[in-house]
Symmetry: C2
DNA sequence: TATTGTATTTCATTGTTAACTAAAACAATC
DNA sequence: GATTGTTTTAGTTAACAATGAAATACAATA
């Protein structure tokens, strides 16, 4: 009667998404085998997901005949509950920023503090290590690799991005889907029009991250892509809950839109130069009361 | 009576190294507290390491007085036995290259095939995932992200390095230790003089890797450093056991030595240009019978 | 007082088991 | 024959206990 596993939830979401993409109206039919194959997974979790959707009245099961679509729920954008590890990671980063964590922590301390099981705590620490935030001490424990609000670190990050990101759009295989450009433009325009609230900062950050990551993905070069993704993850940890003024949002969006225009026109060199100055400008912003800012 | 743990072995090594650096002659004295503090570790593993060294006759313990150095063993370069995970990782990569592994594997299969415990297999897979070699499948199992001998992948790697590595020496804080330059030069000269054998290829690869990683480390920018280190790890997996001709070694060493000269003279722009052409040339080398080559 | 010796505590790892999920094979039904 | 229903097998995860190592505190001794 429950919907326990993450995979099953994900698959339920993807089934809905699939129905929308295929334009399946009420009365259409699905089958377990096909969807399982299409989602690259076995029938078992698909069955569970369909059972769940049936319970919600989205579909109806017909014995030995198939699955009938009853209603197509509007894209409610039901967000999957974030995993405990993700939450703990953000909390940890936040506490660290605010000086609430010592320079060295043990696995057990992480378990206690964030109420995690051992495997989860290990996952968390491994991910932090991957982001170069912590390292294993020789004996027991982990050490943070930089001071809580490290201006220097921020500079390093920008220097690195400055080396990489302007190069993405000059890569041989660089190709942006027109649909991606359109969607990005729409999101940026909406961000410009929407009245600014502090609460928008997460959405704003994610839009930024998607922009930069999307460009990296468009190279078709996995190393560019994963380097940029890594930077995004890193910044996500420290920038999530910090506010910024509307002016910054405005400048940021305008610059992004400019890049999109030039990329659409095939003027990649221009876009590359814009990216360079975009990052340079963002890197030079002085830190105010806010310890950092997510622009870029 | 045994020397069980890795940490203790490492510490024994580092104590010897420390004694050499400090120029401790026979008859000098050590103390547990100091060395423990200096190595950033508690007294416990230091005691065990010293016990071991005492058993070997390197030092002698004097009750409540300290540790006397008896002989200073010449830098025998005792190599620590590589961890099971490392070995398995190389073996796995090798088998994969030779088409002996399917496109998808389960954790359990890795455990069986390489005779690993579960935690070790998990470590291995996590590391491969970190290198973008595999990814988790939606349900169970892992999927390799590229074909065994992927020319395209190699190109991507070079493109990425081409974006990063020539930038390292132009970074603001770039600083090479003179000692590092000297040591690197010596290693390269020796590689040029030593008669080439196939068995030298591992040492040659490691020299290359150290060269590139050392330059990245000299930026003081951890993102440059870890990006280059990641590339090295990746290439180590596929390039370890492949032979190459002496000509390539020669060209490679010569180019490296050229960069060292210019860096020593403070002509970083020249060195940067050399690095660019160095990577470009290496990337253009056609693959012969050997599936790849470690030059660069 | 500086040092090692010893004991205690905290911590991490490993191995084991149990619970449960996904995959795969097979059976049943329309 | 296509599809779901059911069973079996394989795989993964989480929880737990046991072992042993590292950190810490304390005692003993020169």
């Amino acid at each position: 009667m429950t919907m326990p596993t993450r995979l099953q939830q994900e698959i339920a979401e993807r089934i809905l998404q699939m129905m929308r993409e295929d334009g399946l109206a009420a009365g259409s039919w699905l089958n377990e085998n096909g969807t399982a194959q299409r989602l690259g997974v076995s029938r078992t979790p698909v069955r569970a997901a369909l059972d769940h959707l049936a319970r919600q009245g989205v579909v109806r099961r017909h014995a030995n005949k198939g699955i009938e679509v009853i209603t197509l729920p509007s894209s409610a954008e039901r967000v999957l509950p974030p995993e405990a590890v993700d939450l703990a990671m953000v909390r940890l980063a936040h506490e660290r920023e605010n000086g609430l964590l010592p320079d060295e922590v043990s696995e057990l301390e992480v378990m206690r503090r964030y109420d995690l099981g051992r495997p989860e705590a290990q996952k968390l620490l491994a991910r932090l290590a991957d982001l170069d935030m912590v390292e294993r001490k020789p004996g027991y424990g982990w050490r943070f690799l930089h001071a809580p609000r490290d201006q220097h670190l921020r500079d390093e990050s920008y220097r690195f991005r400055l080396a990489i990101e302007p190069m993405t759009m000059l890569e041989p295989g660089f190709h942006l889907e027109p649909g991606w450009i359109a969607e990005m433009r729409a999101r940026h325009l909406e961000a410009l029009q929407r009245p600014w609230r502090e609460s928008s900062s997460i959405a704003f950050y994610e839009m930024n991250a998607d922009f930069h990551e999307g460009l990296a993905a468009a190279t078709g070069n996995r190393y560019f892509h994963s380097a940029v993704r890594r930077q995004n993850q890193l910044r996500r940890l420290s920038n999530y809950d910090w506010g910024l003024g509307f002016e910054r949002v405005q400048v940021n969006c305008t610059e992004h839109l400019g890049m999109l225009d030039h990329l659409e026109a095939g003027e990649n060199e221009v876009a590359s130069a814009l990216m360079r100055s975009h990052l340079l400008r963002a890197s030079k912003l002085k830190l105010g009361v806010q310890p950092d800012e997510p622009a870029g």
